[in-house]
Symmetry: none
Subunit: 525 residues, 2 copies
């Protein structure tokens, strides 16, 4: 009976309620595709009734073919004052065309009388009407019982009646939501058992929030008590303190319980998926995150380090590779070495022959990482560095001077101009360009100066530009890291720059971008 535990991801809907997180429709499409590949059973894509961005997402998602997951649209029971067939939100849910629709309804009498401002009886009718309407349209219907645990404590009979209304109308699953996140595990299990006594043989689920810092434990306790459907978000994104963190829930279930997860789940991609979602949300990935954090298997204390060198089990509760993470020994991190060697091989660069060269290169890399550079996703810069380490390095051009000016008169948008002097071979090139902002001006000037010498640069386009402030508490004097992605007709490469000066950081990344392209053309890799 354990085999049918289903994982329902709501990163794109409830997760997008996180403070500071705002996914575009494109962001959502990218995350949905990754979640599908990762192997979750359901992906809740958004609330088409609440904002136009979600409508756009569902329109575009209709063109995707998922391998593992079913896409769900989310909404609420019908409004008190509109008949079900004329309810705009229910209509929009049908229009999304998703095979699954999830709707939430009220379980807490107080929310019915003081929130919806209607009677308990009418609320039961809202639930029944809405579920039946969606079933009539052939949808799989998941009913989220909002505030179920608080509702049960306030009026157990009524809370159970709301579930009965959804079930009688044909709901395929009923999910018990701890919407305010205030319930502790022991209490939660007691209430679940009471529900199970009332409703046998139905698929019950759990939706936990982390306001008491026990959302993961609550989800595990609910599954142990027999619930077969778990909702949560990647990294525990969500309003206030977030939702149950699916990364922790999944790893715990797979590695520490006898629950059988779907074999589609690719646990070894967990760390990747977790970091990707942070990247797309443009929030720092929490280093101390269980299982997937950069510090999760990092060892600092001297005793720990000498012990794990003898046997890693001593201070590691699991093998980090099972979740796609890796051990870090903070005093001597050797993990990069094999990656570096294989990267060099790919490029046809031979640094293997000289142990000293590899050592020097790794030291340089560590120093740069210490300064804030990050080479995951910046292959272009990494390969430029590698090439420079070989001793065969010849620069394609030299900077003599650069000046960027931003001029603003009163309330109008400022003008940005870059003046650039570079030397290619023996030739001095002095040029200038305007742009949408200083970095754009600099980019345009650099291309203008180089293209006469290197016409292949005309075929490159900058496709992505990202800025991350590294030590934001240093305020306007903070260090920033700039990532640039460039494409030509064959490939895409990333480059990176770090400085207290955003123009300088951007310049470094631009120079690496151009250099990588010219290296690629010359060495033909």
């Amino acid at each position: 009976m354990n085999a049918d535990l289903v994982i329902y991801d709501t990163t794109l809907r409830d997760g997008s309620q996180s403070e500071g997180v705002s996914f575009s429709a494109l962001d959502k499409l990218q995350i949905a595709s990754e979640l599908d590949r990762f192997g979750v059973d359901y992906i809740e894509g958004g609330w088409p009734g609440s904002n136009p961005k979600d409508i756009e997402f569902f329109e575009r998602a209709a063109g995707l073919e998922f391998q593992n997951a079913k896409l769900a649209a989310f909404g609420s029971t019908r409004r008190v004052d509109s008949p079900v067939r004329q309810d705009i939100n229910l209509t929009r849910l049908i229009e999304t065309g998703t095979p699954v629709v999830t709707i939430f309804g009220k379980s807490w009498d107080f929310h019915v009388t003081d929130g919806l401002c209607t009677t308990l009886e009418i609320n039961l009718q809202l639930i029944a009407d809405s579920v039946a309407f969606l079933k009539d349209h052939g949808r799989e219907v998941i009913y989220d019982a909002e505030h179920f645990f608080d509702g049960y404590l306030a009026n157990a009979d009524y809370a159970l009646q709301t579930l009965a209304a959804a079930l009688k109308a044909g709901a395929d699953s009923v999910v018990l939501c701890d919407t305010n996140g205030g319930t502790l595990p022991d209490h939660l299990v007691q209430i679940i058992q009471a529900v199970q006594n009332e409703f046998a043989q139905i698929r019950l689920g759990i939706h936990a929030h982390n306001d008491s810092d026990t959302a993961v434990a609550n989800s595990l306790a609910a599954v142990k008590a027999g619930l077969r459907h778990v909702q949560g978000t990647i990294n525990g994104l969500g309003e206030r303190c977030g939702n149950a963190n699916l990364c922790s829930v999944l790893a715990n279930l797979a590695l520490k319980t006898d629950q059988r997860l779907s074999p589609k789940i690719r646990l070894e991609k967990l760390t990747y998926v977790s970091r990707l979602v942070s990247e797309i949300a443009n929030i720092p990935h929490r280093e101390e995150s269980p299982y997937v954090g950069n510090s999760a298997f990092a060892h600092k204390g001297g005793i720990h380090v000498s012990a794990i060198r003898r046997n890693r089990r001593m201070y590691e509760h699991i093998d980090p590779q099972t979740v796609g993470n890796h051990q870090r020994v903070l005093i001597s991190d050797q993990s990069g070495q094999s990656n570096i060697l294989s990267k060099a091989e790919q490029m046809g660069i031979d640094i293997k022959s000289s142990k000293k060269q590899v050592r020097e290169f790794l030291d340089r890399l560590k120093h740069l990482e210490h300064l804030g550079y990050q080479f995951e996703g910046a292959d272009g810069s990494l390969q430029v560095l590698l090439k420079k380490a070989t001793g065969e390095w010849q620069p394609f051009f030299e900077l003599v001077s650069a000046r960027v000016t931003i001029d603003k008169q009163q309330q109008v948008e400022p003008l940005s101009e870059a003046v650039l002097k570079i030397r290619v071979g023996g030739v001095l090139e002095h040029t200038a360009a305007e742009g949408n902002g200083p970095v754009d001006a600099l980019d345009k000037a650099l291309r203008k100066a180089l293209e006469p010498f290197y016409p292949s640069l005309k075929k490159t386009t900058l496709v992505d530009y990202k800025v991350r402030v590294l030590n934001s508490e240093a305020a306007t004097a903070a260090k920033v890291r700039v990532f640039i992605e460039t494409a030509d007709e064959k490939s895409i490469w990333g480059t990176v720059g770090v400085s207290e000066n955003i123009i300088e950081a951007s310049w470094q990344a631009l120079v690496d971008s151009v250099t990588y392209k010219l290296m690629k053309d010359t060495d033909d890799f």
Copy 2:
């Protein structure tokens, strides 16, 4: 029997193992004093055997008079090769002069044979000798059974023998440590019960780590099972994924269980203590932290906001004031009129009287949000906008012109200079400044120009600066959003700017920051 639950804080010792955290002796003294005032029972100050900073801390702490807490020094059982009286670490523990000494010893047979490289029998002797030695010196001795849960699973008999050795030698309390953090609550409770069957009437404690994301739940489960001593750290600081977060443990115990905490605990200071520790550790305070985070009682969705305006219980599991936190209403594209009204009310601005004004303001806000502005966390900018909407708006200064120049010669770091012309009243001010990067130069020039007119600006500091690229696929011509946080002696406010030009976006946020401060001084809110 519940009254004697004791709280043992190890922020200064185990918490200082967090990656990136390094407390000075002075930092530790400040935190210890706050923890004492807050009301914890024990403060573990450090490991005098492991580093000189901790020796300095204990020397200076000897001069403090604690009102509530007992100070504990931490160390390990004696070394295999030194007799107890000559053991340098035990001697140092005695020399600290603390009334309490906590030592850890091995419970896991594998750690004895493969870590200490000694026999199981000798390890029992190490434990007994060390505890007896400390008792002979009149100390209260707390024995931390390292890896107890893993040890129990590997060799239950032996793990229990190690506890017996400590107890027989006179240990006052025995603490079961889940050192690798791999144990889930149900398993943990089973093992605790087995220990309780063996040892009745002794004070047992729990020390949990968060590698499975269940450290808080584990601590609560242990207390529910009858353990009377809980160890943890403020904000869950600690190696890898951290220790049990005492903020969550304490709030849960006090507000959601029938456990009686010591009446000395001042729960209403919880948020303050939590943020202070982050401040001293110089790490960002986690916004989504349960109970104490800046987002813990923040409401974003329009439905939630209109509901909490009627009754805050609807979407808040506790009254935030009980833990010294407060409710926040966020402004976002998902929320409507009710968010604005309640925000204006908080600000003491009356826009309620004019429905047309509210509507116009909301339209303006939605337009700005559509352009990429985001007012969650940018209260300062929102308030400036609100003020402008009232019709009573008078600008504090006007920009005439600004020019920012970044000059770079070859490979050296560029120089940044800002030249600014502004008008205050009838007076024209023309000034210039250099900075670490163009935004810093602009900030410095703006302050230089304004401070003669508005001296209170001298008391403001920029405390945070963030950049987010909004449409990164537009590459270097992408639009960026800049967030700035500014503080004076009383409060912190956020401001926002959006433009394709990062200098322009930063300028907008800087201007709002200064304007908000001057508004605040004038209107005295």
